[in-house]
Assembly symmetry: C2
Homo-oligomer: 259 residues x 2
Amino acid sequence: MSDINWKLVHDTAIEWTSEAGQYIRSKMKESFSVSTKAHQDDLVTDVDKAVEDFFKNKIVETFPNHRLMGEEGSYESVKDLEGIVWILDPIDGTVNFVHQESFFAISIGIFHEGIGMVGIVYDVMRDELFTSIKGNGAYINGNQIKPLTKTSLNESILSFNHGWVLKDRRLEELVKEARAIRCYGSAALEIAYVAAGRLDAYISFNLAPWDFAGGSVILKEVGGLATNYEGKELTFLDKDTFIAANPSIHHDIFERFLK
Amino acid sequence: MSDINWKLVHDTAIEWTSEAGQYIRSKMKESFSVSTKAHQDDLVTDVDKAVEDFFKNKIVETFPNHRLMGEEGSYESVKDLEGIVWILDPIDGTVNFVHQESFFAISIGIFHEGIGMVGIVYDVMRDELFTSIKGNGAYINGNQIKPLTKTSLNESILSFNHGWVLKDRRLEELVKEARAIRCYGSAALEIAYVAAGRLDAYISFNLAPWDFAGGSVILKEVGGLATNYEGKELTFLDKDTFIAANPSIHHDIFERFLK
């Protein structure tokens, strides 16, 4: 398996992502003309499943020895990361998809024997594509992202849900210390924003592998760190707490606030 | 003054906004090549002032009887809304401008004898332009926005800073009751998002007229409401508390949570 052409896998995954994005945008337009909130809720289910099926069929056809772990039903069958596994969220940011018709992403992490090799996060409506191949840096729409530079908590912008503050009051200290807090409602995009330097950390109490796989692979390419609240490596097999951060504040955040 | 051609004022304001946006994007590119955080902080001051001066000169030249109330120094001279007043924020979302190089806006509200006639909010990096003329509806990039439809708090997406929750614990109840909370860090954009139906309400403890003038004028055109925490009309002359909302939840929010 050492002679795998990761560039080919990467390019193929991007091609399919682009095709899936086009499909989602066309479905959005259809729904606009008949739209009610109820229809929109139905739409997300339909589109989620259709996009996951699309990837499933493409993978079986093109890379028959690759497996798919997806949010919509393909999860149960994948209990380990042996060989090559695609971890897919067909639509990350479901509430945004339904309600805002923007700020959601297709997220893909492709793993080889447990190691993230290819990362893709695609902001469908903004047409902004974050990509990486292990060892080759990270890119936004083909432009290389600079490695993350040193920062400190009081000049950082962090991102997490307001609701987490109510569940763990230690986050209030972060609200006070950080320069600003944001919340966009799509884990995949928010992790990609950490990679792009738009955010310095993204924190969540509860994420699934498909929420953070694509973003975490991309983040690593610019020197960012993604772990759980204990600072331990993610398994990419189970739900976990999650912190993605600029390396200069990652330790500070989990040591002082989350551990 | 009753024969003022508001379409002309509107079109002219859009033309200047577009030109200012181009200038800001070019400055961003320059700064990228020498960029450090310190330089970026200087940049915002320079660009803010340059954009405000640009509008000031254009207004004096083209509409000599109009006055300008801007964040950068033109504020002191405007103490009333007699005649025609442009209320301008050259860059709304300064932290985002410096840190994210996106998610900031040029915001303009043009008032006639205290009444909002023209609203403009321009997301410079995304090239997304929200506009309105009183009585003629609101638009995104020229496409008319539908009037806001009925919603309820438990299916709403609200937006406010995490920090406000620490200052007024009543907001915690909103976090629990709403479907989701977001925070983007640009009041002007967030009010425009309420107009666009992407958010159902935007709340702030402390905003200046230039933060909310443009967005509030646009919001009115789709049936949205903008008031202070007591539900009272904004003066557009002083800093105030602020809530912009879908009309079906506006009363509920300030009566139950903010009053």
